[in-house]
C-alpha cells in the first residue's frame, strides 16, 4: 500500500487555480522527487499535502487515511513532517530548542534518543546547539530545519527546495542525509529545482508543468527522457 496517494488534486489561491488533476504517490522507503520550473505547482502540491493550502478537489490519502480537509497540526500528528521553503526556523530559539519543538506532538520517552540520532546524522547541529537559530548560516539553517522535522520521527518527510541558496558541497551533504533516513525507514517527498541533484538521489520522480503532472517514471527513465534532458538538464 502506498504511504501517500494523491489523486485528481486541484488547489489554488483565492480564485486562481494552480493545480490541475495532480496525481502522485510515494511508497514506503522511497525518495520521490517532484521537479519542474518556477510556478509549475510543486510547492503548492506539497503545501496541499501538509494542509497549509486547503485542497479544492481530489483525494489525498496518507498512511491509509484521508487527510483531505484536515488542519496542518492533525496531518503532522499522522506522521508527516515538513521542511518548508525558506527553512522557517524559530529564529529566537536555540538550535536545540528548535529541534525539541519538532518533537512537540510526541509524548513518548524516546525524544532524547531521537535528539542524539539527529546530532549523529547532522553533527554540525551539535556544535551549534546553544546558538540562536536566526544566526546560523544558510546551510546550517537547512540542517536545523531537517533535524527539526526528523525529531517528529515522521513516516514521510516533505522537503521543499532542499538546495535553494546552498553551496553545492552543502547540498551534497543534505542529500546524503536523505539517503540515510530512507535507510532508516522514512520516506521522502522532495521538491527540487536542481533536477540533476534530485534525480541523483530519488527512486522515482514526477515532472510538473503549468500545474499538471506531465511525466512520471523512475529516476533513470526521467534522466534518459529527451524532453527532460533538454528542458531541465541542459544536455
Amino acid at each position: 500500500m502506498s504511504l501517500l496517494e494523491i489523486r485528481d488534486l486541484e488547489a489554488g489561491y483565492g480564485a486562481v487555480q494552480v493545480l490541475w488533476r495532480v496525481a502522485l504517490r510515494v511508497d514506503p522507503g522511497e525518495i520521490v522527487t517532484v521537479i519542474g520550473n518556477n510556478g509549475a505547482g510543486k510547492t503548492t502540491t506539497m503545501l496541499a499535502v501538509t494542509g497549509l493550502v486547503p485542497p479544492w478537489r481530489g483525494e489525498i490519502a496518507f498512511d491509509g487515511r484521508t487527510v483531505h480537509g484536515l488542519e496542518p497540526p492533525d496531518i503532522a500528528g499522522l506522521g508527516l513532517a515538513l521542511v518548508p521553503q525558506g527553512r522557517r526556523l524559530f529564529g529566537a530559539m536555540s538550535v536545540e530548542e528548535n529541534l525539541l519543538m519538532g518533537a512537540y506532538l510526541r509524548r513518548d520517552r524516546g525524544v532524547e534518543a531521537t535528539l542524539r540520532r539527529v546530532y549523529e546524522i547532522l553533527p554540525r547541529l551539535r556544535e551549534r546547539r546553544r546558538q540562536l537559530a536566526g544566526t546560523l548560516s544558510g546551510g546550517e539553517q537547512q540542517m536545523c530545519a531537517i533535524g527539526r522535522a526528523l525529531m517528529a520521527r515522521p513516516k514521510l518527510l516533505c522537503v521543499d527546495e532542499l538546495s535553494f541558496g546552498l553551496a553545492p558541497r552543502v547540498t551534497d551533504e543534505m542529500l546524503d542525509v536523505l539517503v540515510v533516513i530512507r535507510a532508516e525507514g522514512t520516506s521522502v517527498l522532495l521538491v527540487e529545482q536542481d533536477v540533476e541533484l534530485a534525480l541523483a538521489v530519488a527512486d522515482r520522480g514526477y515532472v510538473m508543468e503549468g500545474g499538471r503532472v506531465v511525466l512520471a517514471g523512475t529516476a533513470a527513465e526521467l534522466y534518459d527522457d529527451p524532453g527532460v534532458r533538454t528542458a531541465y538538464l541542459g544536455l
Partner: protein, 307 residues
C-alpha cells in the same frame, strides 16, 4: 515581598495618592492583559479596550438595572468578554500584523458605537452605578491589586510548559508552528480570551470605582494604545515586563501631568519612539540582569530595527 509591600500601601497613602496608586495597578493589569495576546503570541491588538468596555458595561448594567451583587456582575462580565473573544477570535486571528491591528481597532470602535444604540444601558448617556454599600478607596486598591495578581498567575501558567512553547512558536513562525503540530487557532484564541478575561475584570472594577460609564470613557482607543505602550516599554512577552512598564510610565506620566499639563501627552509619544528605537525588547531584560545596558547595546537595538 512585593506582595507584602503592595498590601501595605493603603495604610500609608491616602486620598489622591491612593487613587494614583490604584490607577497604576489598573494599568499594570491592562498591560498584562495585552501581553497575553500581543506579547506572548505576537498579535498586536489595538482593540483590547473592547474587553475593558464589555467588562465595564456588563457590570454597570447588571448592578444598576438588575441589582445584581457586584461580585456576580463582575463574574458575568468577565464571562461575557471571554465569550466575545472566543466568538470573534477564530475570525480576527486569521489576520496578521497591521491587518490584525486594524481589525481589532475597528472592532472596539464598532462596539462603542453599538452600545450607544442600547437603551438598556442608557444609550449615549451611559449608566450611573449606585450600590448600597460602596467599597472604600482602599477596597478598590485591593480589587485592582487582585486583578494584577490574577493576570500574573494566568501569564505564569501560560508561559510554563507546552502552552508557553506553543505561544513562542506562534510568535516566531506560525506556519512552522502549525507544521510542527501546534493547534495554532486554539492557542491564539485561548490567549485572546484570557486577555479579554483580565481586561473585563479591570473594566468591571473601574466601572464601580468611577460609578459612571459611557461609551467615550470605556471604549476610548487611547486605553488600547496605552496597554500596547506599557507592555512594550516594560518588555512584551515577559512575565514582569508589563508590570514594570506600567509602573515606570504611569509614575512619570503622573509626575509630568501635575507639572506640565499641556505637554504631558507629548511625553508619551517620545517614550514610544525612544523605546521602540533603542530598546526593542523593553526595560525588563536589562533589569532582570540578563543583559548590560550600554551605549553600544542601545545602538545595536536601533540598528537591528532597520534590518
Amino acid at each position: 515581598m512585593l506582595a507584602a509591600a503592595a498590601a501595605a500601601v493603603p495604610g500609608v497613602l491616602s486620598g489622591y495618592a491612593l487613587r494614583e496608586a490604584t490607577t497604576i495597578l489598573m494599568f499594570m493589569a491592562l498591560a498584562l492583559s495585552w501581553n497575553l495576546i500581543g506579547g506572548l503570541c505576537g498579535y498586536p491588538s489595538f482593540g483590547n479596550v473592547a474587553f475593558f468596555g464589555i467588562g465595564a458595561y456588563a457590570t454597570a448594567g447588571l448592578v444598576a438595572n438588575l441589582h445584581w451583587p457586584f461580585g456576580a456582575a463582575l463574574a458575568a462580565a468577565a464571562a461575557a468578554a471571554v465569550a466575545f473573544a472566543a466568538a470573534i477570535g477564530p475570525v480576527v486571528l486569521r489576520l496578521h500584523g497591521h491587518y490584525f491591528a486594524i481589525a481589532t481597532l475597528g472592532t472596539a470602535q464598532a462596539l462603542g458605537q453599538i452600545v450607544i444604540m442600547v437603551p438598556w444601558v442608557g444609550g449615549p448617556n451611559g449608566v450611573i452605578l449606585r450600590v448600597p454599600f460602596a467599597p472604600s478607596a482602599a477596597d478598590f486598591y485591593y480589587y485592582m491589586a487582585g486583578a494584577v495578581a490574577a493576570a500574573l498567575l494566568i501569564t505564569y501558567a501560560v508561559l510554563r510548559g507546552s502552552w508557553g512553547y506553543a505561544c513562542r512558536m506562534i510568535r516566531q513562525d506560525e506556519v512552522a508552528a502549525a507544521a510542527s503540530g501546534v493547534n495554532t487557532t486554539f492557542y491564539k484564541t485561548a490567549c485572546w480570551a484570557l486577555s479579554g478575561f483580565v481586561a473585563a475584570l479591570v473594566g468591571g472594577v473601574y466601572a464601580l470605582w468611577i460609578t459612571f460609564v459611557n461609551p467615550p470613557s470605556v471604549f476610548d482607543p487611547v486605553i488600547s494604545l496605552t496597554m500596547v505602550v506599557l507592555a512594550l516599554v516594560g518588555g512584551a512577552g515577559t512575565l514582569w515586563g508589563p508590570v514594570l512598564g506600567a509602573f515606570v510610565v504611569e509614575n512619570i506620566d503622573q509626575y509630568l501631568w501635575a507639572r506640565l499639563l499641556t505637554a504631558h501627552t507629548l511625553f508619551l509619544g517620545v517614550v514610544i519612539v525612544v523605546i521602540v528605537l533603542f530598546l526593542p525588547r523593553g526595560l525588563w531584560p536589562y533589569l532582570a540582569g540578563g543583559e548590560g545596558l550600554t551605549w553600544r547595546s542601545l545602538f545595536e537595538g536601533a540598528r537591528r530595527l532597520r534590518v
